[in-house]
Symmetry: C2
Subunit: 238 residues, 2 copies
DNA sequence: TAGTGGTCTAGACCACTTG
DNA sequence: AAGTGGTCTAGACCACTAC
């Protein structure tokens, strides 16, 4: 199915159309997690564009961590990963390898913040998922995620545990939705009593608060998270 | 002066060579702040490559905010700006428009952190510049920046004040060095007594701490900064 | 209208991975 | 050796800006 080259009004560049077609293919399940895509030449023929144009489309998805390239081998759909940010140890960056504990998965009504972030009406029904991340066994961060209860009807703790606490995998496997994080906003906050106990720090300890919206691949926001993490052993890397 | 196409060992892609040539041109003063560059075709002829290759080189500099493009008009050298991050108000992002007050510019000896970050030997002579940023008149952040005293020999408070507290402009105008920020690391910290007074917050208030190295355009690190900012009115945007 | 950035092509060659 | 991603070219046309 060739792309359209001449829609006179509001025509998108071809490489963005290519991007969208790849996205659709991933969402429809034509290519799943970790699978290889057809070669750039094959895609070029299929879409009726040149290899360079396909390449630009793929570039933009690689930049969004939706695809991964391996020279000489191929282009692959990236593995579904939760987004807990990156930590910097004295002397090197590493992605946070952490174990996730599910603390709660409950229905609630959206407050103003959640409603605004998710584009829902005030007091709309949402799911609130609270999780605890440990790095090397030590409590590191608390994450609270909110999603529309309507969109994710049927979500429960069992599904989340089956995915090892990886929400993104739940969205993908159980709800067919691939989600990518938007740039975060950051604040410094004080640990509350209960929170301090859970994280193993003193009361009132400063915590780094990371707000993050995440979008489906059509750009609409579907997930809103607040991460509160210790920064005494690791620094957060942006 | 055409680029080299056949250095058999460790040859860099042409578009990166183009990038480097543009960088050299900027550093040598051939094109200064705000000035327009020759058109992509002219550069292509000058460097002996195609327009597309020049474009890729320019792309990478636009991504680093060294250049700015205006369709139909031309490509320009970006204005020198200090990097105080971005703030998010409830409802929209904006670059921090703040007034800068110079608190101190003094010589010191590098501690372990500064020495490591700047690639200097321990106890090397450095300049430490402390500045206070206000947003809408209200104290917002404290920034401490360190540079090698050898590299920036002759730096003093007068030069910084002449540049309205904009260090990057000092580096460029007085020392011929264009500097771009690397991705920051973040921590949550507690305001000290004196600091709390300066920022107009209570003692022990949590502050967001932003660590940031900045590199010259050859990639070597020349500046190391620690920003400590309030996040009660604004959130930091990464 | 002329000149600039922005997109796209068809074809080529190179560097790398895999059988 | 065959196939993949990575780079590059020469030329073309479009959208936009400035004069």
């Amino acid at each position: 199915m060739p792309v359209q080259k001449n829609a006179h009004l509001s025509r998108q560049p071809l490489f963005l159309q290519v991007r969208q077609k790849i996205v659709s293919g991933i969402e429809s399940g034509e290519w799943s997690d970790g699978e290889i895509l057809p070669s750039e030449m094959e895609l070029a023929v299929r879409f009726g564009v040149s290899q360079g144009t396909v390449r630009r489309g793929l570039d933009s998805l690689v930049a969004d961590s939706v695809l991964v390239r391996r020279q000489g081998a191929g282009t692959f759909v990236a593995d579904t990963q939760d987004d807990w940010g990156r930590a910097e140890l004295p002397g090197g960056v590493q992605s946070l390898a952490c174990s996730i504990e599910l603390l709660a998965c409950a229905r609630a009504n959206a407050g103003e913040v959640e409603a605004t972030a998710l584009g829902l009406r005030r007091a709309a029904s949402i799911f609130v998922i609270r999780r605890l991340a440990r790095v090397a066994g030590e409590p590191f961060a608390m994450m609270e995620s909110c999603v529309s209860a309507e969109r994710f009807d049927g979500l429960d703790a069992r599904r989340i545990k089956q995915a090892d606490g990886n929400l993104r995998r739940v969205w993908l496997k159980d709800f067919g939705l691939r989600v990518v994080s938007n740039p975060p906003h950051l604040r410094a906050a004080r640990a509350g009593r209960e929170e301090a106990r859970t994280l193993g720090v003193e009361n009132e300890t400063p915590l780094l608060e990371v707000f993050r919206a995440a979008s489906g691949m059509d750009g609409t926001i579907v997930e809103w998270s607040i991460l509160r993490c210790r920064t005494d052993h690791y620094a957060y890397s942006a």
